[in-house]
């Protein structure tokens, strides 16, 4: 996983509600191997017209926003399919932080497991960070201190559970960490299957 400590970057605002993972990356692009990268397909059908031209009016197509790395989205961002490619596309494009009032649950989990910092923040707080210079907002996101600061010095704190924070800071894989608990897993497993023998099918 990509480690995350601090990040300072340009904000892209996409205040629409219910942006689903099909919008973040359409289903027809999911068969690439991970290392081939998905950044060019991010928001594909929102960014491009069917004949491959940039779609006028889509925020990411604003030349001043092309270098954005912090996405401020509307309610229920990343709802829909469980596709992790949505997170990969955001990361590969260059996004490191997504801030929204709430997220699709699976998307939220996927984000933090890949080093994309997903932050839940109420709409009022989001507005207070944005109101000053809505066209070219720069934010600083500090994971150790769990804070976001704008250029006017307004600072807001955000919540993240301590384990996820540690994992993000270290960029540690969850699989390796869980393997340290293998004895405990095996002990539980034996007891669980004895009590529910129909779980094993053969």
């Amino acid at each position: 996983m990509l480690a995350f400590t601090e990040h300072r970057g340009l904000v892209l605002r996409l205040p629409w509600e219910n942006i689903d993972t099909d919008q973040i990356i359409p289903a027809r692009y999911l068969h690439r191997p991970r290392d081939a990268g998905y950044g060019d397909q991010l928001f594909h059908d929102l960014r491009f017209t069917p004949d491959g031209k940039l779609r006028v009016g889509f925020p990411l197509n604003d030349p001043t926003k092309a270098e954005s790395s912090i996405l401020v989205a509307g309610k229920n961002f990343g709802c829909g399919s469980s596709r992790e490619h949505a997170v990969w596309a955001l990361l590969d494009y260059g996004f490191r932080v997504v801030i929204a009032p709430d997220f699709g649950d699976i998307f939220f989990n996927n984000s933090l497991k890949n080093g994309l910092l997903a932050i839940r923040m109420d709409e009022q707080s989001i507005e207070s960070l944005m109101q000053v210079e809505s066209d070219s907002t720069i934010l600083s996101v500090d994971l150790p201190h769990q804070s976001i600061t704008n250029r006017d010095g307004i600072t807001l704190s955000f919540e993240i559970d301590s384990y996820r924070k540690e994992a993000l800071l270290k960029g540690e894989s969850e699989v390796q960490m869980t393997f340290r608990l293998l004895d405990e897993i095996k002990e539980f497993e034996a007891r669980h299957i004895t009590g529910n023998p129909w779980i094993e099918t053969s």
């Binding site: 289903a27 469980s82 669980h192």
Partner: protein, 464 residues
Amino acid sequence: MGKTLFDKIWESHVITERDDGTALLFIDRHLVHDATAQAFDQLKAEGKKVRRPDLTFGMADHYIATHYDPDRDPVHDNMVTTLAENARDQNIMSFGAGDERQGIVHVAGPELGLTLPGTLLVCGDSHTSTHGALGALAFGIGASEVAHVLATQTLWQKRPRSMHIRIDGELGPYVTAKDLILTIIGTIGANGGAGHVIEYSGKVIDELSIESRLTLCNMSIEAGARAGMIAPDETTFAYLNGKPFAPQGELFERAVSAWRELKSDADAQHDKEVTIEARTIAPTVTWGNSPETALPITGHIPALEEIELNKREQYNATIEYMGLEPGEKLTTLIVDRVFIGSCTNSRLEDLREAAKIAKLGKAKVPTFVVPGSQQVRRQAEQEGLHEIFLQAGFEWREPGCSMCVAMNGDSVPAGARCASTSNRNFAGRQGPGSRTHLMSPAMAAAAAITGHLTDVRELEGTKC
């Protein structure tokens, strides 16, 4: 205080808990489909093997062909083959192309008896919520989580809250589980269940078949919920009895005694309560690009003035994308395509409902019927349903996800309006530029034979 059904299943799977309350859960069933190739790559990158191949089952569904197409993109077949290769390398039983047990993972899993009450089941697919219909706790996970389950047979999860949706009364004629769940989503919103597991109960649920319960739980994810579930009852036990992977004989009896305990205690508290009166529900369709845009078929496209101020920009974009006129009646919308299938509505019961309507006319537009599994296909053919469809000019295809997610090459052309029994009407979901209206199988069949969205209750020959 008593425990909810969710509490009971969750707590019986907790191996350990972190200080922050996140639990390491044991996974009883892991279903993997043909769109999880990257998770196997991740497993290899971690230097691990599948820890419990005997509890892991493969299904080809997202990329599998539903008919012979000489121009089919080989990339799609590669994904089906890759699943088979990964399954062979990791010693996993897998039902791929040519297997008589192949089907959509959420259709074939329950009908094979892989889904059992009280179990914790996961799959790298958001519609895993479907399996909760049998009293399992079942939810979708992402690719990293799939890799984690493959490697460890466990999963770290934050405990969701519980929501209880009680459905009182009785469903009217031609009002199905699909109309029920669309109405629920229209009522609570596409994020109304966020962070929650929904338990459905009430008289309507008690009387629903397992197939209808699967449809209902399937779209819990469209309500934003982590999972949907229904306490197992006699209907559940009867459904499971004799299924190939369900326990048999004496073990089945023992299992049923344990499963009878799987219900919310009378004094259990849910974090959220919603009550829906079934009598008020009409056949329901969606008009926009979120399942929450569900309306009774007797309704009209909302006018701008009916939309909250802060949602008007998105509304205008939706109207344009969907090619709609504000205020127009839903029943005047001309369709170009009809799709009957998907993990929501491709079971035998769904095909029977669609066939009843197909008997009344001829398709005016290209109509695909895609059964959910080889077993459904065989049963439908034994009953002669395919003959009815073919007679009505519908196409009868091989099982798979097909046009629901448009990953296998089956898709709705740009700008075409599709009456669809699937679960998502997102922009581009059924193909770039596709315009999807969600509805029940009977309603989709009615649209096929009239050429426009139709209140199935008004159709000649269905008067009730």
